[in-house]
Symmetry: C2
Subunit: 76 residues, 2 copies
């Protein structure tokens, strides 16, 4: 709910678009947040675009893991 | 990995596009599957579009839950 409120605050402060990013298992929560914002709190906002990608996490030993990521563009 | 192989098989059987759908916590796995297919197995395929939505699950007592969903369109 904190994420929802943070995004609602951005729209209320005059932002025309807000970007939500998440990786791995947090992805489904990011979509929940976007959907709750546009359905319940900022109904003139809509999902403009959704992009998925893979982030490569590296450390001293080289590649540690490939992690899926999402970027959700909300705009009104 | 079974989902990856199922999609690779569809492309190998001549499909030009494959749609992946998931709900709730399975969403991050659906993105993993799409990314593995296009990066490792069918490199001429790309993510054409991604849509997110909310599905309303209902039962005898009315609305049971709102569940986020994703649809990923892969095409070559």
């Amino acid at each position: 709910m904190n994420y929802v409120l943070a995004i609602v605050a951005q729209f209320n402060n005059g932002s025309e678009d807000v970007t939500i990013k998440a990786r791995g298992k947090a992805i489904s929560r990011a979509i929940d947040v976007a959907e709750i914002v546009r359905r319940r709190f900022v109904q003139e906002a809509s999902v403009k675009d959704v992009k998925i990608d893979t982030e490569v996490l590296t450390g001293d030993g080289g590649v540690i893991a490939n992690v899926s990521s999402i970027v959700i563009y909300l705009a009104r």
